[in-house]
Amino acid sequence: MLDLSWLIKYGESRGAGFVDIRFHDRTYELIVLDNGVVKQYTVSTSKGVGVRVVVDKFFGYASTNRLDKDSLMEAVDRAISVAKSMSKFGLPIELFERKIVRDRVTSKFSIDPFTVDSSEKISVLKDMYSITRDFKDIISCLARFGYEYDNRFYQSSWGDEVEVTNRLIGISILTVAKVNGVVERVHDQKSMVAGWEFIKSTDWCEFSRDVAQITVQAAKSPAVKPGRYDAVLDNEMVGLLLHEAFGHATEADIVEAGGSVLEGRVGERIASDYVTVVDDGLVEGGFYLPYDDEGSPKVKTVTVDRGVLKTYLHSLWTAKRFDSKPTGNARVMDYEQVILIRQTNTYMEPGDHSVDELFEDIKEGVYVRGRGAMGGQVDPSMGTFTFTAGPSYLVKNGRVESLIRGVMISGNILETLKNVDAVAKDLKVTTSVFGGCGKDGQMVRVGDGGPHIRVRGLVIGGGV
């Protein structure tokens, strides 16, 4: 293991009451095949050290990617200097003191993608592109391969030493169809915490064919008529909804700032009995996060238990501030950034219904699908959310019927979760090597998902 304890001691000698160091080494490989031509093949590497100090109850951060001794000491000096300058306007903080953690963990993989010949990776993308050429209405195809190696080492003045190495790999495709002057696009991706074996074991041509087919069908479909509908949301949409519309409001730094609609509501009913929401760093299909960036173990956290808000997601600071316990949700995008509270894998626990049962008593509704969804956004202080779905379906008299496009859902999360009246058994959680969750300029990998659910009276609109 790397040893930066000398740097911690240097910080303490300069007056810091607490020092922690984050060393981060990341490599990201990205191949972009645009209409059959490799338009980008980049390998990006990043290595640096972030320092956090507490001086007289104020946080100071500094970072550098010059790793010589003088530059590291200079970073500690800068962190101490900015912490000292906060005495007039700063927020006094205290940290939850937990047990010392020492561990080294690596995510599972069989074949290191860096040992695989580049031409093999390009070949997978080319095959996917060739499939889309069979569809005369597809006018554009962009396929990407992404692989991320991420190594983090955390050390603190308490004696913590935690090293986590993660490998995340995946492929995405964007197809654009033009039918009778109507242009529609659909994007989809599959990622896994794994090595090259994930790419080898997946039928990417079938994946490509499915996406091309739905894009063409969507371009032929009418736009949804705006209004309120009973809706069934699929696994991906449930994940998006929970992560964006609900999960951010459970992040205790947002609660502390007064920016969450859930402030002061622990113990209150905020959803229907059918809703149990979990944040878990080790769930199958999700992103692998056994420890957060403060070295705290990521415990499986039930934020909502059968409709009742049980806890927020915490760092060491907010755990102390709220008289709670750390949940392992203190995260940074990279060594340069400050600690924020972030979700890991957010999902809803499965219920008892079959998926078919959810449609049975819907007279006129919408089956809201996540494939091709562009994501969502929430105002956590008010609970207002909005999402674009992928191509979706009208539901009439309990039957899934014609395809519709341009679906955007909107509402207030607390009202929406109270209107969940059925949850299916089919739990599915996914992650992505091409994106993640953005907050305050930091993007971190996350996962989300759930079973199919039914929501009454959802606002659905959108453009054409």
Binding site: V43, S44, I139, G258
Partner: protein, 454 residues
């Protein structure tokens, strides 16, 4: 710090020849930042950072590869060997013309505010504290019973960029950036409402900060008791900020020659045709002092120029970098933009300036023109789709005016349509004034027949 970049560049050029690369392009930047985070009226943390990042792009014939590095310990030989391996394994790109050559500068707008370069962190904290105080006072003055600045932050950057190629051409330039944004949350009569202010500028303008701080306080109260309106078709007035957000996501990327060539733009094949209302001219203007997109050369060293992209509604040109220009057998328009040092450029706007030409009105007159939904805040606008011009967002801060009177505050309604209709056949009027929002300079727009789901 220019020396550090120049040193890496010179070693790169010298070693690349021995490694078998025909050409290389280098893009490096150093950045020194001060970041401050706010939580409930207080400064939660402050961060000082320094980083050097660079990208090396190399080719063997028409086979290209890229390496990005934010690792100053990295061995250059190893990086270049990886680059060669990538380039060798890549199939040929038949359109690749080589990396850009003929570096030069156009007019040089001001991009550095020396006050930001040497600013004292305690003075920055004073500015932030004064802004937060102004927001709170403004909210209380406008009827709030309680008010907090809940979260947000301030960022100051000073950075330099070095571009070079294997012909030995180099260009270097420095920039400063000042960003501030936070949310003001007010309570009155058992109701809550909030508003977020954002400023992005290359210079420190305390008066702009105070003006926006006061507006944020006022607007944090203005939308109390907001509720949805009935679904239907409405006349909608997008304020300057909302117009800029839709333009940035649904319109701006469509002018990129890259998107046009890859069949992802509705502007393909439409040069010389009317694509927007004749009341609108759009100019790409890289020469505005302290503009966010201002520069004298683009991200591959080609001189920038001011040009009309849409003139009285008619598409005059799309935007080119070196690669896309070669593919269309024309010249680069000096619009190469690089998302980060490790990737190749794509064409994009420097500063996008919308000039209102006719059907001009004041904001208040437009708001008073019958039954009008005025939009001052929204979420999810970025999910609009430049491939087909689809526009959609959920209104978070709206006001329903009927004959000049505010009937209700509005939230949780989805507005949807198409940007080419909104800025074309459905455009009723434009405000006379133009406001800067990041790199977009725009009037407010009054639009007919906007679909609203409530």
């Amino acid at each position: 710090m220019k020396d550090v970049l120049m040193n890496i560049f010179e070693k790169t050029v010298s070693k690349s020849r021995n490694k078998g690369l025909d050409e290389v392009e280098f893009y490096g930047e150093w950045i020194r930042s001060l970041n401050i985070d706010i939580s409930r009226d207080k400064v939660k943390s402050m961060k000082s950072s320094f980083n050097v990042t660079y990208g090396i792009h190399g080719c063997i014939g028409k086979r290209i590869g890229s390496i990005g590095s934010r690792n100053l310990e990295a061995d250059l030989d190893t990086l270049l060997e990886k680059l060669v391996s990538i380039a060798k394994s890549n199939p040929e790109d038949p359109y690749f013309p080589g990396f850009a050559k003929g570096y030069s500068r156009g007019f040089e707008p001001k991009t550095v505010d020396k006050r930001l370069v040497d600013i004292d962190s305690e003075y920055v904290l004073e500015i932030l504290n004064n802004a937060m105080s102004s927001s709170r006072e403004s909210a209380l003055k406008n009827g709030a019973e309680e008010v907090i600045v809940s979260e947000g932050g301030l960022r100051i950057d000073n950075y330099g960029v070095l571009i070079g190629n294997s012909n030995g051409e180099t260009l270097y330039h420095e920039y400063t950036l000042f960003d501030i944004g936070y949310t003001v949350k007010s309570r009155a009569g058992g109701e809550e409402s909030s508003f977020t202010m954002m400023i992005s500028n290359r210079m420190l303008d305390e008066s702009e900060v105070m003006k926006e701080a006061v507006r944020a306080g006022e607007y944090s109260v203005k939308f109390m008791k907001a509720k949805p309106v009935e679904s239907g078709t409405y006349r909608v007035l997008l304020d300057h900020y909302m117009t800029a957000l839709f333009v940035a996501t649904a319109l701006q990327p469509a002018f990129s020659a890259h998107e046009v060539q890859e069949n992802r733009s509705p502007l393909k094949g439409r040069i010389g045709q009317e694509v927007l209302s004749s009341s609108i001219t759009i100019v790409d203007d890289p020469f505005i002092d302290y503009g966010i997109g201002s520069r004298s050369f683009d991200d591959e060293g080609i001189r920038c120029s001011k040009k009309a992209v849409v003139e009285k509604g008619v598409l005059k040109t799309i935007l080119y970098n070196y690669y896309t220009a070669s593919r269309d057998r024309t010249l680069s328009t000096g619009n190469a933009i690089r998302a980060n040092p490790g990737v190749l450029t794509r064409p994009g706007f420097t500063n996008l300036v919308i000039q209102p030409l006719s059907n001009l009105s004041s904001f208040d007159e437009m708001a008073s023109s019958g039954r009008v939904l005025v939009v001052h805040g929204m979420i999810g606008y970025w999910m609009s789709n430049y491939v087909n011009g689809l526009t959609q967002a959920t209104v978070s801060h709206g006001l329903l005016y009927v004959n000049g009177e505010v009937k209700q505050a509005v939230k949780n309604v989805v507005i949807g349509g198409n940007i080419y209709d909104w800025m074309g056949s459905s455009l009723l009027a434009l405000s006379k004034d133009v406001v800067k929002v990041s790199n977009i300079y725009t009037p407010a727009l009054l639009i007919e027949n906007v679909r609203v789901a409530g």
